[in-house]
């Protein structure tokens, strides 16, 4: 059967490519060897094999075994486009399938129609993605690594837009319409107008000058405080119109909770989708070289400079890997004395890193305290310089946070080189430390705010006794927290604009038109994906923390990220060159989402804490008469019919939650055990495969000798 083919191709074996002996002719007849067919007239085409005989013609890679009828049925269910045949064979196969289609039942015809429809819809959806042409262009010039960053940015824009629509639709729009229509809003509870907790008046007094407006716009005070932007402006009211009752406070609470749940669900869905592709290997280090060689060249690159960069980067990476291998071998041969010295050095450096972080956090804490206490003493700025000074003081926490995030990672970069880790581990360690610094500085800011609002947690302290919170300095504390987040957002955007305009563009001009020495020493800007992604995650975490106190913040964040997309694209094409090391897109996509989830987890804490534990301000906001924000939901539940009320009380009781937690723990342990056993199974199967290969070689050689 294959004899004429084996005569033709037998001579093609290069000597010495197969271990010790040239392969015997018997190998060509093995079924596993019949996996590839040449195209053209040299050997039998697939289609011919399928048409005439035997299941052996079908490659094992497509995994069909069995009788001819089963095989033919299998081939039909695989879409025609996915068959590795040449066009002529596909057309023949299609004609055959069409002849048989007439004999198909209506169910099968409907199924085929559905498949075709699904394919069409899928391709339409692919074509209508936002910014698709920009991403294509970026991928063609700079590769998939940098395109991953812009993909992530696009995802964040969509996430923020949907969140803004959710909160806007349920909280902001009804408030605006009710006010515009002048509907009767019944206040939820009677408040004692003369209580000391009610002293809140953000109205600007006297003549308001022009620059005060600008300062107010930038810091969210004054006229900005009396808009729908901040929590304090909303009413604690119920609107009853023609049998339709809308409870603003309940809507606010539920909208915020749903927004967080939506973000969680969407991010988890996306990361699971990426996880399937990214973490298939139990051990990524097992195939670094083969992946770099076979999946290293980006076929989508179309520009000659990009192609040259890619060649250089692949060469650089392979060289780096070989060097790392050599240095790893050298490190393994270190003496115990050298090892002890290295470990003490590493622990010292880690202590130094912790000390640096401590100093940075303390500075942030001091800055926040100073800024808040200065702002609490309200006074109308009479002169420009005083107003400017006030602006500077109110932005002090943001300035200190940004400064710390610029300076400390540079120190990390220097210190990590002293620790003598292999290069890839160095990068990971620096990245982990930078992530920690970014997110923890935000946490420190929130903690220092909390300490001021609740008098360091002591409700019996002098300032907090009457209202449960520091009502003299914070008559409307939620708005103040919202303002801090607003300021962080504005400052982040301003920083990015300034850095692009004042650092990146001049650098490009200097490097390309200045002295050659400068070009060699400094070089063109490299687009560093991890640092930029950390910026995005930080901005998104700020938005999440502020969303419960500043309902329009997701909308502002959407606008900010849209602006950022165009800004970064501009700076990428004008000022940057591709990086030396290829940024691996797939594993890093999952890493970005993981860090984003971490930010979401951090932002849940202040939101939930303020909903359940902190007393809301009595002078402002939709929860002004309640003992806690969650109380609005409890009151709503009390208003439900008996069955629903009983159900909710049961779900919230310990009797339900504790067994649920236990069940989840058991399930978690089961999944971990399953994963462990799968990885062991895979290792055993790999060993078996090697043994089978050796058996095959041995047996065939024996047969050849005997015959």
């Amino acid at each position: 059967m294959d004899r004429h083919w084996e005569e033709e191709t037998g001579s093609k074996w290069a000597a010495g490519t197969w271990g010790h002996q040239p392969p015997s002719a018997l190998f060509h007849q093995l079924p596993s060897n019949a996996t590839l067919r040449f195209r053209g007239d040299k050997a039998l085409a697939w289609g011919a094999v399928l048409g005439e005989w035997a299941p052996q013609g079908i490659p094992q890679a497509w995994g069909s075994e069995g009788s001819k009828e089963e095989v033919a049925a299998d081939m039909e269910t695989i879409a025609l486009q996915q068959l590795p045949l040449c066009m002529a064979e596909k057309r023949r196969h299609r004609l055959q399938a069409q002849k048989q289609a007439g004999q198909h039942t209506r169910w099968q015809q409907w199924q085929a129609g559905q498949q075709r429809l699904r394919r069409k819809v899928g391709s339409i959806l692919l074509h209508t993605q936002l910014w698709r042409s920009s991403l294509t262009c970026i991928e063609g010039h700079f590769g998939t690594g940098i395109e991953a960053y812009f993909n992530f940015l696009r995802f964040l824009v969509l996430l923020n837009l949907v969140g803004a629509l959710l909160i806007g639709g349920f909280v902001v729009a009804p408030s605006i319409t009710f006010e515009a229509l002048r509907l009767n809003q019944t206040e939820r509870a009677n408040l004692t107008a003369n209580s000391p907790c009610m002293g809140y008046d953000p109205n600007p007094r006297g003549l308001v000058s022009y620059f005060t407006y600008v300062m107010d716009l930038l810091s969210g005070t004054g006229f900005m405080e009396l808009t729908y932007l901040f929590y304090g402006y909303y009413q604690n009211s119920v609107v009853d119109v023609v049998g339709f009752s809308y409870n603003i406070s309940l809507a606010y609470l539920l909208a915020v909770l749903c927004y967080f749940l939506l973000c969680l669900a969407w991010i988890v869905h996306r990361s699971v989708h990426l996880l399937k592709r990214g973490l298939v290997s139990e051990d990524g280090a097992l195939s670094t070289y083969s992946i770099k060689v076979f999946a290293g060249w980006d076929f989508g690159l179309t520009q000659p400079p990009a192609a040259i960069w890619k060649h250089n980067s692949i060469r650089y990476e392979l060289k780096l890997d070989l060097e790392e291998e050599a240095s790893r071998r050298a490190m393994a041969q270190r003496s115990p004395a050298q090892r002890a010295w290295l470990y003490t050095l590493r622990s010292l450096i880690n202590l130094l890193v912790v000390a640096l972080l401590g100093v940075a956090f303390y500075c942030i804490y001091l800055a926040t305290e100073y800024s808040q206490s200065t702002l609490s003493q309200q006074s109308v700025a009479q002169s420009k310089s005083k107003a400017f000074w006030e602006l500077l003081v109110s932005y002090l926490p943001s300035i200190v946070i940004t400064g710390a995030n610029l300076v400390v990672p540079m120190a990390f970069g220097v210190l990590v080189r002293l620790e003598q880790y292999p290069f890839s581990q160095e990068i990971k360690l620096t990245l982990v430390r930078s992530v920690f610094l970014r997110l923890a500085s935000l946490v420190v800011l929130l903690v220092s705010l909390w300490m001021q609002i609740t008098c360091h947690g002591q409700t019996e302290a002098f300032d907090c006794r009457t209202c449960g919170y520091n009502h003299r300095h914070f008559p409307c504390w939620e708005t103040r927290v919202g303002q801090e987040m607003y300021k962080l957002l504005v400052f982040d955007l301003l920083t990015m604009l300034l850095v692009t305009l004042l650092v990146e563009f001049p650098r490009k001009i200097l490097v390309s038109h200045g002295p050659a020495l400068l070009a060699r020493l400094w070089g063109q800007q490299e687009f560093l994906v991890p640092a930029n992604v950390l910026d995005l995650v930080y901005g998104q975490t700020v938005c999440w923390v502020g969303a419960s106190f500043c309902p329009l913040l997701p909308l502002l964040n959407t606008l900010k990220y849209i602006l950022l997309f165009y800004l970064k694209k501009l700076t990428l094409f004008s000022n940057c060159r591709p990086g030396d090391r290829t940024f691996r897109a797939s594993s890093s996509n999952f890493f970005f989402l993981l860090v984003l989830l971490l930010g979401l987890a951090i932002s849940w804490v202040p939101a939930l804490y303020s909903i359940f534990a902190l007393p809301p301000s009595q002078a402002c906001g939709p929860f002004r008469a309640e003992p806690s924000m969650w109380n609005a939901a409890l009151l709503a539940i009390d208003g439900l019919p008996e069955l629903a009320r009983g159900f909710f009380y049961f779900v919230g009781s310990l009797g339900f939650i504790v067994p649920l937690l236990l069940l989840l723990c058991i399930f978690l342990f089961y999944l971990m055990a399953l994963a462990d056993s799968y990885s062991r199974l895979v290792k055993e199967l790999k060993m078996q495969l090697q043994l089978e290969g050796r058996d095959k070689v041995f047996l065939v050689n024996q047969i050849t000798e005997l015959s």
């Binding site: 299609r94 060689v293 060649h311 090697q690």
Partner: protein, 187 residues
């Protein structure tokens, strides 16, 4: 809008749609790209199935393939005569496999054939050396190239015969999640 084209018969267009991952519009767009390479050779009427083959030099001058170090192998693998001269069928087939809708197994099959320089169904050490040299434009020393090839065979060769078969290659590609996005040409 739709049915005014006179290049293909409706049956031909349907056949192309079923056999590739492209829609009608994309197939026509690709036809015009093919024709732009040699307007005097390619007729505007394909309904009588003319036997037109564009030489390899024209195919490799396309901007999508011009800078690809493997363009010769790609053309050879997808051409009917094995020399790189492509008919319209081969052209469509090539871009269909390299499009983003092709599944991983299909791409892995053709990638294997592309990297198999001597067409012997196995990627042996000499094939690997040629691949690495094409990737780095001969800028690595021969010892480094040989080291890299040894490491690749060590990592990917599961049945221990000193070279990579299609199964070895596909097992390795499963662990390369970037493969789907790098083995992709947008046109």
């Amino acid at each position: 809008m739709g049915n005014k084209q006179t290049i293909f018969t409706p049956e031909q267009l349907d056949a192309y749609q079923d056999c590739t991952f492209f829609t009608r519009k994309e197939i026509l767009r690709l036809f015009y790209r093919y024709r732009d390479l040699a307007p005097q050779l390619v007729p505007l009427d394909y309904s009588d199935k003319p036997d037109v083959m564009l030489p390899y030099e024209l195919i490799s001058s396309m901007p999508e393939l011009k800078d690809n170090p493997f363009r010769q192998r790609i053309a050879e693998v997808f051409s009917e005569d094995g020399e790189g001269n492509m008919t319209l069928d081969d052209f469509l087939d090539m871009f269909s496999v390299l499009s983003e809708m092709a599944p991983r197994d299909l791409k892995a099959y053709y990638a294997f054939k592309i990297y198999d320089f001597n067409n012997d169904d196995y990627i042996c050490k000499s094939d690997l050396e040629k691949t690495v040299n094409k990737l780095t434009r001969h800028e690595l020393t021969p010892e480094e190239v040989s080291l890299v090839c040894e490491k690749v065979i060590e990592e990917a060769d599961l049945d221990n015969d000193g070279k990579l078969s299609l199964e070895d290659f596909q097992h390795m590609i499963v662990r390369a999640p970037d493969f789907l996005s790098t083995f992709h040409i947008r046109i």
